[in-house]
Symmetry: C2
Subunit: 422 residues, 2 copies
């Protein structure tokens, strides 16, 4: 089955927002062994939407659209789809019911039965929206499917989850089983991996499916898309692939597998092992804490952080000595040490990480230019360890990289904790 | 001039990463009064890339591609483009030079003149990459342009900025001037704006160009795409538009204009007025600090924050009373008050914001379910003010909404500060 995705939204082409629905759709499809073959973003005009529909229906069995279903005058998806299929728009009792239910759910007054949400193209069926107001709809036409959902990511996601596969189930192929094996590596650039560290790796992996290499924050994600004709064959191939990675010299740089994020992995292990941690964040400006607290259940092991831009806060709250700041500056191994140690004690932690550096664009010295970061790691009863790195990028990327190195360091420590306890 | 954007990347269709280059390209084009007409994402296969090129060249004057220029075997953009145009790939002395320069810049050893980066399709010209290693390239073919850049966003961005307009300048139209007027509103839902608050607004705005309404975090961005045949006419239309908004009852809910972010606006005003601020973040988990520290120059007025997930940290560091936590719980107006007051004093701030609530999925009470947040605002010599909101969404969205309300609250306060001083 070939699935095409039509994103209707001038706001994306105008850079006002970033498309998040491709990721949502692809993650959902993957769990059903399917994938997006192609996607297009078109403007909210009749001719552009029609062009997109024509183009995608030409080469796909299922076309999913997102966007343009709202109540304002720039929302013309429904009208355009109706005219594309040569259908009239009619009052639809089920659509009225769906829409009334949506309003009830949020305790908002239903605007009345003549509202646009009560109307649908002839022969189309409504789809309930449990996260918002605008209903979606679908139809089958010449053995192909059209499925239209709102563009707001949380509404799009829920509608896909609630309805997509029951709508298109008759077209699902049960003959191919698909799994993305992803190995997430750190610290070695893409070229070096395949040309120095393990020159045969790519070819070995290629026996099992399409290989991809995706540079990621301070690392590379290596993916293999494995296809098989049965669950058993798929499982066997995946096991063989894992053993290739285990035997590779790259192995010690693999920090994770699959789609589990760094922060999810950290929280899972810390919650399991009852490890309490926190951050003394200067250069990362709160990003480490934000990433960690994005994980449900993080409050069990993440106690808190101090974001200490001001030197006075480093002194007053973390206990960094005035002389240390004067003699070594705030961006130094000595300050990183005292920040981590201060946080460990004040917050009663098992592990404290400190991050101090220059995120730019201003600041920096000839010895420690913008991009320099010191990451301190304190744990109970042990001397603080500090690593210094010189990284590259603008302020946004540097903050991301600083936080990534801090989280890599935390994970390494948490894994040691685990093995020393087990 | 019609510009099409071809994104070559299975990793986007597979949901491994989110496309950021559409936004980068559109923001760059806008500053030159141009826009992306359509974009497509295709997989890294020869047939899919060829299909995308054919489709976009059919209806566009300029096609920009991103992705697939790296050194690994899944990078096939250059070969596919060569065969699409019926060109051989040849050794190219300028490409070698460009590539050597790229390696020198990062103090890395050049892999040798036979490296893939020294080769280009016949009649193509190389484009230097000042943020990475893979050179881009361009060509002119039947009065249309092809411009190929790497997919890594920072490399893509720099290559576009360095080269795009000098390459396609001969096709630039000087006869149309374009400006997006964007008014950013808060707290009123989309439907209510146009059906209750100002029922004539949409039609009035439509006289000046294409109107759009984009729901955003806790608000709606209303855009008008104004076109004119001279700079003077453009300026006049924009002034008239502004006066429509000033006379609208919606006016008091407009918090900003254009693309300036909430955090940028806050930092600009605080730096100007010498206001020192910080956050006591529980439910927002560091996101307020992360957003603020993303702004260059934020260290002038943002002093720091305490991320206080643990109750002990609320007590020890912020001075929240044990009895307050016991009698009212950590998610209460009383705790929000003491958090804000504690931070104001300990951090020597002019304004301190506190955020405590339930981000879910667990937690919450019948009185204060998941989505409840208390935002406290403390300033010198005034009683703390607390607002309570009941918001909606999953953990990620709730964190975003909590931080947005905190930043709205901060901006309101900072604007009052401004007017009381001026």
């Amino acid at each position: 089955m070939k699935i095409g995705f039509l994103i209707i939204g001038s706001e994306i082409l105008d850079g006002k927002i970033t498309d998040l629905n491709t990721k949502i759709l692809s993650e959902y499809l993957r769990s059903h062994h399917e994938e997006i073959h192609e996607s297009m973003v078109v403007r909210d005009t009749k001719s552009d939407i029609e062009h997109g529909l024509r183009e995608l229906f030409h080469t796909h069995d299922v076309v999913i659209t997102s966007g343009g279903l709202g109540p304002t005058k720039d929302d013309i998806t429904k009208e355009t789809i109706a005219s594309f299929f040569g259908k009239k728009i009619l009052f639809h009792p089920d659509a009225l019911k769906t829409s009334e239910d949506n309003y009830k759910r949020f305790h908002r007054t239903f605007p009345g039965k003549d509202h646009t949400y009560s109307y649908l193209p002839e022969d189309f069926s409504p789809l309930s929206n449990t996260m918002g107001f605008a209903p979606g709809f679908y139809t089958k036409h010449q053995n192909k499917f059209l499925f239209s959902a709102p563009g707001v990511p949380r509404e799009f996601k829920r509608m896909i989850e609630d309805h997509l596969f029951s709508v298109i189930s008759e077209k699902l192929e049960k003959t191919t089983f698909l799994k993305h094996v992803i190995m997430r590596t750190k610290y070695i650039p893409e070229e070096k991996i395949f040309q120095e560290v393990d020159t045969l790796l790519w070819d070995k992996l290629s026996h099992y499916g399409e290989v991809s290499s995706l540079p990621n924050l301070m690392g590379v994600d290596i993916g293999v898309k494995v296809r098989a004709s049965s669950e058993e064959e798929l499982e066997k191939k995946v096991l063989e692939l894992h053993s290739i990675f285990e035997k590779s010299p790259l192995h010690k740089n693999i920090w994770g597998q699959g789609r589990e994020t760094l922060e999810e992995k950290i929280i899972k292990l810390c919650n399991l092992r009852n490890i309490k941690f926190g951050f003394a964040e200067s250069a990362s400006g709160g990003l480490c804490s934000h990433r960690i607290t994005g994980v449900p259940g993080s409050s069990q092991s993440f106690m808190g952080s101090v974001v200490c831009y001001d030197e006075k806060i480093k002194e007053d709250i973390l206990g960094v000595k005035k002389e240390t700041l004067l003699n070594h500056s705030a961006v130094s191994s000595e300050t990183a040490t005292e920040m981590a140690m201060g946080l460990l004690e004040k917050f009663h932690l098992d592990i404290a990480l400190s991050i101090t550096g220059y995120a730019g664009p201003g600041g920096g010295t000839s010895e420690n230019p913008v991009g320099t970061v010191f990451i301190g790691k304190a744990k109970r009863g042990k001397p603080v360890e500090v690593q210094k790195l010189n990284l590259f990028g603008d302020r946004e990327i540097l903050k991301q990289r600083f936080s990534q190195v801090a989280l890599f360091t935390l994970l390494e420590e948490v894994e040691k904790f685990t093995s020393s306890l087990s």
